[in-house]
């Protein structure tokens, strides 16, 4: 199992592995997947949806009989994380949609994850129960209380095996700390704290304390009429627990050091690429708005996604990215239409592979793109039911931008803009990816000889 290193030198072939979700065309909105995340070992894969549910898939142990078939992901646990709420003070309904899920590193037999909607973060414990106690003194086998007067002997309850049950329990609820909509959560490398970011503020939490959080970034102007910029994403450095970054709607990234001051309104580093005058339009700011920011696993780079590109930045160079990849540049001439139908505001995420050599992001028409940073080769693949035969190799797709359209190409005007791949995830060490296409979750793996 090649963890991505040099995988593209032999042109990695991606194969369909599994698809989860209904095949019906009439999708209920609640089933739309809104976040996807592998845990730190890749054993578990969590999804959150618009209906506030979390579904966790677990990878099956590989069987000796089917060595060529890598472990499949099957449902491990399903629970309702968030319910719709009503804010009575403001007469506002709070959506139950899960915006983000982040796993905590495993420290004992149980799994812990954070899930958040617009306003509230919750810490969930997912644990297995395969034994149950029997032989209580004060309760009978059905759980009814026994009259103590009838008890003449005492016995020690024993644990007996039972069918495996996976329980999810909310261990902490971190509420009432965000006036605006939470867009990001990030677990700190100290494993004791995490941050939550909304449009204007970032708060630091201790996992043990739910009634208090520290505000570490506040960009709300004194007069809201002066507001011109919002926070779009935030993440902790993977190794330095004092460092984090946050991105803005103006295409900037700020790196902050919590040792410098309690309130990190002044950044330590400021990353911004000067605007290309030849590409300037009325939509320049909108398309420069960063929808996702991710540290590389090494911690040396950050990757940002704006509407048309993915950029890789070296933490030591603030004035421009070291790499820029065009995701779907053929949309540059369609920006007005995309503004009209609001697609220009879509927020795409981006992910690194385990070795930081390949990056992936989604596009429209259920296409997603991968860029190999070493070979500079890229590929466009599609998540669709048509390509869903077991172990079928995904065929690279191509968008034709004008002139003659070749047989297998698709023209820009034929793209389905309602089919957008906003959320993807890459296994931490293997070439296994999870791609969320509206209400379906596709799992692809590279072809193993």
């Amino acid at each position: 199992m090649i963890p991505g290193i040099g995988a593209f030198t032999r042109d990695t072939l991606w194969c369909f592995s599994q698809v989860k979700g209904t095949m019906e065309t009439g999708t209920t909105e609640a089933d739309i997947i809104s976040t996807v995340e592998f845990n730190h070992t890749g054993e578990l894969l969590a999804t959150g949806d618009k209906g506030g549910r979390v579904v966790i898939f677990q990878r099956e142990q590989e069987s000796k009989n089917q060595v060529h078939r890598r472990g499949e992901y099957n449902v491990y646990s399903t629970f309702q994380s968030h319910e719709p709420e009503f804010d009575y003070l403001k007469s506002l309904e709070i959506e139950e949609k899960i915006n983000k899920i982040r796993w905590l590193p495993q420290q004992n037999a149980a799994y812990f994850l954070l899930s958040t909607n617009d306003k509230t973060v919750k810490l969930w414990k997912v644990s297995e129960r395969d034994k149950r106690p029997e032989g209580y003194n004060l309760k009978d086998e059905e759980g009814r209380l026994r009259d103590p007067a009838t008890i003449t002997t005492l016995r020690v309850p024993v644990l007996r095996p039972m069918d495996l049950m996976v329980e999810a329990t909310p261990r902490r609820v971190f509420a009432n700390a965000h006036t605006y909509h939470i867009n990001s959560i990030s677990v700190n490398s100290d494993y004791e704290t995490y941050m939550s970011a909304d449009d204007l503020r970032i708060n630091l939490w201790n996992f043990e304390i739910t009634n208090q959080s520290f505000n570490i970034v506040d960009i709300k102007p004194a007069n809201m009429e002066e507001l011109t910029e919002v926070i779009t994403a935030a993440e902790f450095h993977p190794h330095h627990c004092n460092t984090f970054v946050y991105s803005s709607s103006k295409g900037t990234i700020r790196l902050c050091d919590m040792r410098a001051s309690a309130l990190c309104d002044r950044h330590t580093k400021f990353f911004e690429e000067p605007e290309d005058p030849s590409n300037r339009s009325f939509f320049s700011e909108i398309i420069s708005s960063i929808s996702d920011v991710k540290f590389s696993h090494s911690g040396r780079y950050i990757m940002t996604r704006d509407y048309l590109t993915v950029k890789v930045w070296d933490l030591n160079m603030e004035n421009r990215p070291i790499e820029t990849y065009q995701v779907h540049d053929y949309l540059r001439s369609k920006l007005c239409s995309l503004y009209e139908n609001d697609c220009i505001f879509d927020k795409f995420e981006c992910v690194w592979n385990g070795s930081d050599s390949v990056i992936m992001t989604g596009s429209y028409n259920n296409f997603f793109r991968m860029f190999d940073r070493n070979t500079k080769r890229d590929v466009t693949l599609e998540a669709s039911r048509e390509n869903s035969k077991p172990r079928a190799i995904l065929k690279p797709r191509k968008v034709c931008v004008g002139g003659k359209r070749r047989k297998d190409e698709i023209s820009v005007d034929s793209l389905d803009f309602s089919k957008k791949i906003l959320h993807t995830a890459w296994h931490p060490s293997e070439n296994i990816i999870a791609v969320a296409a509206t209400n379906n979750l596709y799992i692809f793996q590279d072809k193993v000889n």
Binding site: N223, T228, V230, S249, S278, R280, E285, E340, N341, V412
Partner: protein, 238 residues
């Protein structure tokens, strides 16, 4: 096929704009050489209208998406900056009929306006909530009629101000006698004679203070009537 969300009316308007303004065509023609080069200095008025429509739609949400709002407002500023002539004078001459039109409006729709006024006051805590949560950021003049280089900053709440000031001036104060107005920001109720209400931190527009012209009054009335939708709490089905 691309335009999956049908804003049918706007599309027709854009089609009309396409014929009327040559500058529109480059938006729709991907093969146009101008696409690859610098865009035209002036945006079409339909793009302006579209942006204003988006802004209104965004403001009418019970809890607007702040990012969407900020991006639309900033884009609107860019568009308006490119459309406005360099002079500070508004291109639309201030019609002397403005006050009488206001009176006519008041006379004809008095009941509706005072009803919306009453509901406004009832739901003022909702407005206050708005001032902490996403605050409407309109500081342009009425749609399609730029007021000049740098119009004064106006929050949506301030848009309500002068218009309601007119009503108060007309003697409807009796309606609100028993209401403790100290909790209200007095800036909200500045009478029209003081011109547009500008906040102390007002930016470049400070020197502006154009009189309420006909176009702006229309716009203010629209917003006022429109605020009934703005203030109404979400129904059970939301």
């Amino acid at each position: 096929m691309m335009l999956s969300k049908g804003l049918k009316r706007k599309r027709e308007e854009e089609e009309e704009g396409k014929e009327a303004l040559a500058v529109d065509t480059w938006w729709l023609d991907p093969g146009h050489p101008a696409v690859a080069q610098a865009p035209p200095a002036v945006a079409s008025s339909s793009l302006f209208d579209l942006s204003v429509l988006k802004l209104h739609h965004s403001l009418r949400q019970s809890e607007p998406d702040l990012r969407h709002l900020v991006l639309v407002v900033n884009t609107l500023r860019r568009i308006q900056a490119s459309m406005a002539p360099t002079a500070a004078l508004p291109p639309v001459p201030s019609p002397p009929t403005a006050p009488s039109i206001a009176d006519n409006l008041l006379a004809s729709s008095d009941a509706a306006l005072s009803a919306s006024m009453a509901s406004l006051l009832e739901d003022l805590s909702h407005i206050e909530g708005l001032s902490q949560a996403p605050q409407p950021l309109v500081d342009e003049g009425p749609p399609g009629r730029p007021t000049g280089g740098a119009p004064p900053s106006l929050g949506a709440l301030d848009l309500l101000g002068p218009a309601t000031g007119c009503l108060l001036d007309d003697g409807l104060e009796g309606l609100f006698e028993d209401i403790d107005t100290s909790m209200y920001d007095s800036e909200l109720w500045a009478p029209a004679s003081e011109g547009h209400k500008s906040s102390p931190e007002d930016g470049p527009g400070k020197e502006e203070a154009p009189e309420l012209d006909e176009a702006e009054l229309d716009y203010l009335m629209d917003v006022l009537v429109g605020t009934q939708a703005l203030e109404r709490p979400p129904g059970p089905g939301r």
